[in-house]
């Protein structure tokens, strides 16, 4: 059995390691400033922290889904970004630690933790079997256990595959991925219900889980494109990232942009047409003042512009240009999350607090530091991936 291997490791001077150092500095500084915020304005601290956490959490979990889709469907696009996806899900223990402040801050974030509010509200009482702090924490632990289990198995088997090619290993990963995708769908849905949707405990939307999963997939693809252009500064890596690979990744970004827009629009049309007070309140808040401006800008800047740009074949086939689109989409993912999360907590003002920035930079810096660390431990391209021959073809 032929071994397909291109053992590329990061040299000590690789630009991404410089990026890693800078990320750590930014991360520590950001977290320190955010910690100051905790003493200045604790409510705002938790809001901003949740936002920042959800952003990087989305990239990691999106990577997990994409990795599993690749294990099932194969494809050259997946073979080249596989190690990035694996490094990304390798940070799940870090994310679990980063989740602790959210768990501690439930009383600041979630209205349903306030006994006096619940006592006056029949609907919240009806939901108490689900929305209560102990169960909330148990669920969070359960989610992280599931994600950690899936992620660590996939990573371990992938490293085993690096050493030796075993067809059974490929089958094992594919089977794991099938089950893993089912688990991913269920856990992420309930996680976003718990952490984001219950910020407005009266509101509900059955598509919310899928909507955030689409966002996670988009963020993960954009993140991989951005990272791969950095990695491609070295010829040894760059030769694997030809126009065909960027083209596929660009098409995935296009597809996820469309899915995101499709789900967002469907949710809007259904709630807007139904016009039930318990549902429209959510959109009502988000269509006032500055939120309205952000909402409209999402239509154009998160959908229309990337859509038009990503239809261009030339842009998709050029790594440097596609990376710009990816960075833009990563930024728009943050704006979208801000629009989803923040109005629940401060409905009147759409202006971001300085903590919103320090939290996302702080968490992101630390997360990136771990991410690159994971990436640097192993060959940058997963060896013996059954789809690798297509890359070189």
């Amino acid at each position: 059995m032929e071994v397909v291997a291109s053992n590329v490791t990061l040299d000590a001077e690789h630009p991404i390691l410089r990026l890693q150092r800078n990320a750590l500095i930014a991360g520590v500084a950001g977290l320190a400033l955010t910690a100051v915020g905790f003493f200045v304005t604790p409510d705002q601290f938790f809001r901003s922290y949740l936002l920042g956490f959800m952003y990087w959490f989305g990239i990691a979990l999106g990577s997990m889904a994409i990795l599993m889709i690749h294990h099932i469907a194969g494809g050259a696009w997946g073979a080249v970004i596989r190690r990035m996806l694996e490094s990304s899900i390798g940070t799940i223990p870090v994310l679990a630690v980063l989740f602790i402040p959210v768990a501690l801050g439930t009383h600041h974030l979630y209205e349903w933790t306030h006994a006096d509010v619940v006592a006056k509200d029949a609907v919240l009482q009806a939901k108490q079997a689900y929305l209560n702090v102990p169960f909330f924490l148990v669920r969070a632990v359960l989610y992280f256990v599931v994600w950690f289990a899936v992620a660590s198995l996939l990573r371990r088997w992938s490293l085993e595959q690096d050493r030796e090619l075993d067809p059974r290993g490929i089958v094992r990963m594919e089977l794991m991925s099938r089950g893993g995708l089912v688990l991913y769908g269920i856990t992420v849905t309930f996680a976003v219900v718990d952490w984001v949707m219950s910020l407005e405990p009266h509101w509900f939307s059955t598509v919310f889980g899928l909507l955030l999963m689409a966002g996670q997939g988009l963020a993960a693809f954009a993140f991989c494109v951005a990272v791969s252009t950095v990695l491609s500064r070295r010829e040894s890596v760059a030769r694997f990232f030809g126009p065909a690979q960027y083209h596929d990744l660009g098409n995935f970004m296009l597809a996820f942009t469309m899915i995101w827009a499709y789900l967002s629009f469907s949710q809007l049309l259904i709630i807007w047409s139904g016009n039930l007070p318990e549902e429209t309140a959510w959109y009502f808040t988000r269509s006032q003042g500055g939120w309205k401006v952000i909402g409209y800008s999402l239509i154009f800047l998160h959908f229309a512009v990337p859509f038009a740009v990503l239809l261009q074949r030339k842009i998709k086939r050029t790594g440097s240009k596609l990376a710009l689109v990816a960075l833009w989409l990563l930024f728009m993912r943050f704006v979208d999350l801000y629009w989803l999360v923040a109005p629940s907590l401060h409905p009147t003002s759409a202006l971001p607090h300085w903590l919103d920035f320090t939290a996302v930079i702080g968490i992101g810096g630390v997360w990136l530091w771990f991410f690159v660390g994971r990436l640097a431990q192993n060959p940058v391209l997963a060896l013996n991936d059954p789809s690798l021959p297509e890359v070189e073809a």
């Binding site: 629009f265 809007l268 049309l269 807007w272 047409s273 016009n275």
Partner: protein, 184 residues
């Protein structure tokens, strides 16, 4: 065919060579182009990009046409809804605004796709000059195999280099299965 001098025979559409393998066809096109022939067309039983490439066919205007169709459909679809719902027949439906942009999106999308698809199909047919049930190439009896398993190269008489005898000899050098004159 006949012994009369070439000039007195009725003019023909071109000369057609038959191949049984796509590789032979592509090689033949290359040689024909190297030999200076430009006005020619290949007939294949299925689309082969390399053949188009060798013939020097690069891209076409269809995407632009379809984009135009889509834009027309989009504008017309929205305009129809706006004109009827806001100007011609304003009616209050459950308090929704007259210009219910959100509700107008699905139909705008459908009209966009419909017009674009119509432009794609009819644009393709029109640019290809179809329907054209009669065409000189069908006069070659063996051409019926072009829709089965044979690959044809036709050098047209309008090519400046074209000469009945020289071109025929040129084609015969490519070792085709047959060479035939295409009558008008």
């Amino acid at each position: 065919m006949s012994s009369r001098p070439a000039s007195s025979r009725p003019p023909i559409y071109g000369l057609m060579a038959e191949f049984s393998d796509p590789n032979e066809l592509i090689a033949a096109i290359r040689q024909a182009r190297a030999g200076g022939y430009r006005r020619m067309d290949a007939y294949t039983p299925y689309p082969i990009e390399e053949v188009a490439h060798e013939l020097g066919i690069h891209g076409n205007h269809l995407p632009k046409l379809v984009l135009a169709g889509g834009v027309i459909g989009m504008c017309a679809g929205y305009a129809l809804q706006y004109w009827t719902s806001v100007i011609e027949y304003p009616i209050n439906v459950g308090g929704r605004p007259l210009n219910s942009i959100i509700s107008f999106m699905p139909i705008t999308f459908e009209t966009t796709v419909l017009t674009a698809a119509i432009f794609a199909v009819f644009g393709m047919l029109a640019l290809n000059g179809l329907p054209m049930p009669y065409h000189p190439v069908f006069n070659v009896p063996r051409f019926a195999l072009a829709s089965r398993d044979r690959f044809f190269l036709c050098i047209e008489a309008t090519d400046p280099m074209f000469d009945r005898e020289l071109t025929r000899r040129f084609l015969e050098r490519l070792v085709p299965r047959s060479v035939a004159e295409v009558e008008h």
